[in-house]
């Protein structure tokens, strides 16, 4: 045990000011492709790992946590008084909490995002051995000024985490309203993860503070074939892919969202969801284009900017990253296409002796808190559906017709779609 007189290195303020010019790129709150900046002076950027030196590119992200309003499909039947929420400003109908990507924004613009949460949270992609500085600002709740909820960031599945950066307020700390906290991560294990707020987690997760984060493998730096990208450090190229699409799987219980907006208390053991979502949208919204929460162009979907439409060319190897932060098990299936599950919970399905244990299937089960990576080879041009085999989750609020956890796979002839520049494009 060490006593409490230790020095703690550079201060947060000196760090933030020292690198303020090197802001990341805001991509419409949809996918964060963070900028690489030089390591701040005085900090070790090269650390001995095994026998080889490993560099640690610095990535910076700034997220804000707040509340806001989103739009479930407008033709869903009313469920008075819960849905549509009578407090919702047009064109919205559902109260949420959520994160926003405010990387590079001026402090005034950051503050202006209060009450403008998005679901799902911004997707984040990093490389193995990046040094990630993730600053979380708590903007408070515009609809509920009576509450003093904190927010945190829990990188769900981060291996060998330390409590300081694990985001469980009961075991470390939370970010109070009007304050910020910088989390530090140096991921060593490629794969598909998720992140969420862990403050009053049962509530804040259901309210929408959930998003995808994935880590690309070191093998990308030394590809087996020039230009190849991989999901994992597989050693044999078996996880190579041409395109990737990520899916945050959640459910939305209208009654709970209504009660939060209307200062009422919820019994979570009565959990009874109304909408089943991919990346914060229900079908057919899932197939609408990617959006930008700073633009009103998408109308009702302004604060649900992440598309789940899969577009690829015949013969492409397509990687599906699926993470479940709902409270129910889901079984994603595709007709006419085989899916090969290569990883569960960000771990390649290979034994300690290297035995490959991939699973080829047409249905991928993902439980709450779990992730799966599956690869398929795009068949001939046409349209295919990716949907939850639990048919009762394929409607919107109990209405007629198809809805819920479903999206389309659109396959074009070779050369139809240009090379992918980011996930879910």
């Amino acid at each position: 045990m060490t006593d409490n007189s230790v020095s703690r290195g550079p201060t947060r303020r000196s760090f933030l000011t020292g690198t303020a010019a090197a802001a990341g790129v805001v991509l419409g709150g949809r996918l964060l492709t963070t900028s690489t900046v030089m390591a701040a002076p005085g900090r070790t950027a090269v650390v001995a790992k095994s026998s080889a030196a490993v560099t640690h590119p610095v990535k910076q992200v700034h997220l804000a946590g707040t509340d806001g309003w989103v739009g479930m499909p407008g033709d869903a039947p009313p469920d008075p008084p819960f849905f549509p929420d009578p407090l919702a400003p047009s064109p919205f109908n559902t109260y949420v909490f959520g994160f926003r990507d405010v990387t590079g924004m001026t402090s005034n613009l950051v503050a202006a995002q209060r009450g403008k949460a998005q679901i799902s949270a911004p997707m984040m992609a990093f490389d193995e051995d990046d040094d990630i500085y993730l600053t979380l600002t708590n903007l408070g709740l515009a609809q509920r000024p009576d509450l003093f909820d904190g927010h945190t960031l829990h990188w769900h599945g981060f291996v060998n985490a330390i409590p300081l950066f694990d985001g469980v307020p009961e075991l470390s700390l939370a970010v109070p309203i009007g304050r910020d906290l910088t989390y530090f991560y140096r991921p060593h294990d490629a794969g598909t993860y998720m992140y969420h707020c862990h403050f009053e987690d049962v509530e804040h997760v259901q309210m929408g503070m959930t998003g995808m984060v994935f880590v690309r493998p070191a093998q990308n730096r030394t590809p087996l074939h020039a230009g190849e990208r991989y999901a994992y450090n597989d050693g044999d190229g078996s996880t190579a892919y041409d395109r990737e699409f990520a899916f945050m799987i959640t459910e939305l219980w209208s009654a709970a969202h209504y009660r939060d907006a209307h200062i009422q208390v919820n019994d979570w053991t009565d959990y009874d969801p109304s909408f089943w979502l991919l990346n914060g949208r229900a079908y057919p919204d899932t197939t609408a284009p990617n959006g930008d929460p700073l633009s009103t162009a998408a109308g009702r979907l302004q604060y649900q900017p992440i598309s789940s439409l899969i577009r690829c060319n015949a013969g492409d190897r397509v990687l599906l990253r699926m993470s479940n932060l709902g409270y129910q098990n889901h079984e994603l299936t595709v007709d006419n296409i085989d899916l090969t599950v290569i990883a569960k919970d960000a771990s390649l399905l290979k034994g300690r002796d290297g035995t490959t244990n991939y699973l080829t299937t047409n249905a991928v089960e993902v439980g709450p808190g779990e992730s799966r990576d599956a690869i398929f080879v795009a068949p001939g041009p046409g349209e295919y559906l990716l949907y939850d085999r639990k048919y009762s989750y394929l409607d919107n609020g109990g209405g007629a017709g198809y809805g819920g956890m479903m999206t389309k796979i659109v396959v074009g002839a070779p050369g139809t779609y240009p090379a992918q520049t980011a996930a879910n494009v």
Binding site: M1, T2, V168, L171, A174, P176, Y327, G351, D353, T355
Partner: protein, 429 residues
């Protein structure tokens, strides 16, 4: 939304009560002694006398629930039933005495060639051909039945009621059976790579309670299990924060088994072996159990090693163990100090905010106010500091988050804590 949650004195004093002497297997022979880790009932002849009886458990929100459960015939009521630890390949005898007002029985899922009173264990039918029990039962009030079998493949198994199963399982008639590989009590299965650290074995028997069913049974009223809605979710018959209390905590007299994992960081020389956790689902829905801070390697499912026909390793790492009803998973886990943060030579490159900017939750904290393992900083006097010596705490909980509540109140239910001590341990121990 901030709301009042039950504040019970968190049982970190447990840590100070742990016996320092290493023991391979703690047994209930030293009953009433508080301890951590799996607590086994063992017997040189592998013969166990169990009594099905009623009793009460307490929940962290102050409720008292009427239960039926198995207990050792030498002891009083407990939930869950005693953890029976046996050796693979040797005969096992379980004598069941029934003091309940209806017939009850035990099925041993995963065991082969089970006999009841010397006859093959068989489903039971009445004269009209209707199924009355999955297996021969002990009649109501003072009946008994003796089950025998040869302990099967090494791993963990449930034992549970085979009679009026919807109701009796909900009422609490379940327990854990741990089959150890012959000659290798510190391995999970026959593979040398399943070895675990001395004394670092944990049983997580997962279940749920619908208090309405229990109240109806207690009052001898009709029970509608089909409209059942569970409100309490438990590990070893306890809900968070009671899960952190030591084994045999005197304030939980009918709930003797704790669920606090207590380890030190992996070290190739001084701490090379992982801990093992046996997950068993005695409920009716999936329990997707998420340990923070570390992956766990699934090496057994339903009592069988995950390996190919030539011994290929088919184990896999998970950050969420989605245990299905009736399933068991045996895992190995450790925590590794990957970054070796050191305040002088390798400082954490961020600053902890002033305590007024931290929003600690509740009147007590487990946070050491430091990112460094083994460093503990001061907290203001209005906070109760549970942290002992700068150790780390990670929670582990069901991620079907309605199960991580006590009747809807967050930070409860199917949840516990993994404690990671500095390599040299806490000075106080």
């Amino acid at each position: 939304m901030r709301r009042l949650t039950v504040q019970r004195v968190l049982a970190l004093t447990a840590a100070a009560l742990v016996a320092v002497t290493p023991v391979v297997v703690r047994t209930q022979a030293s009953a009433a002694e508080m301890s951590e880790g799996a607590l086994c009932d063992t017997d040189t002849n592998q013969t166990f006398s169990l009594t099905a009886r009623d009793g009460y458990i307490s929940t962290p929100d102050g409720n008292s629930i009427y239960m039926w459960s198995y207990s050792s015939s030498k002891r009083g009521f407990q939930l869950p039933g005693p953890t029976l630890c046996v050796e693979s390949g040797r005969p096992v005898t379980v004598i069941l005495h029934n003091t309940l007002p209806e017939a009850t029985s035990i099925v041993f899922p995963g065991q082969l060639g089970v006999k009841a009173n010397g006859n093959p264990a068989q489903p039971q039918f009445d004269s009209g051909g209707s199924l009355t029990s999955l297996v021969q039962s002990a009649p109501a009030t003072d009946g008994s039945v003796t089950y025998t079998f040869t302990a099967g493949s090494p791993g963990s198994y449930l034992y549970e009621t085979g009679t009026d199963v919807d109701k009796q399982l909900q009422m609490g008639l379940y327990g854990a059976l741990v089959v150890r590989p012959a000659g290798h009590p510190n391995q999970v299965n026959d593979r040398p790579d399943s070895a675990f650290a001395n004394g670092k074995e944990y049983v997580y028997l997962l279940s749920e309670v619908d208090p309405d069913v229990h109240l109806a049974v207690e009052r001898n009223q009709p029970v509608d299990v089909n409209s059942s809605k569970s409100r309490y979710f438990m590990i070893n018959g306890r809900s968070m924060p009671d899960t952190l209390a030591p084994n045999n905590a005197p304030w939980l007299p009918g709930q003797p088994y704790g669920a606090l994992v207590h380890i030190k960081p992996y070290d190739a020389v001084t701490n090379p072996l992982p801990a093992t956790i046996h997950y068993l689902n005695a409920g009716s829905v999936n329990y997707p159990f998420h340990p923070h801070g570390s992956d766990e390697r699934v090496i057994n499912r339903d009592g069988h090693a995950l390996q190919g026909p030539s011994g290929q390793d088919l184990s896999y790492l998970k950050y969420d163990l989605d245990v299905g009803p009736g399933q068991t998973l045996d895992v190995l886990m450790d925590w590794r100090d990957v970054e070796h943060w050191n305040a002088t030579t390798n400082p954490i490159p961020t600053q902890i905010p002033a305590i007024t900017d931290q929003l600690l939750v509740g009147p007590d904290t487990w946070f050491s106010e430091s990112g460094y393992l083994g460093t503990k900083n001061a907290v203001p006097s209005n906070l109760t500091q549970n942290n002992e010596c700068g150790e780390y705490y990670h929670i582990a909980h069901s991620h079907a988050l309605e199960q991580a509540t006590n009747y809807g109140a967050a930070f409860g239910g199917m949840m516990t804590v993994f404690r990671i001590d500095p390599p040299a341990g806490c000075v106080s121990q």
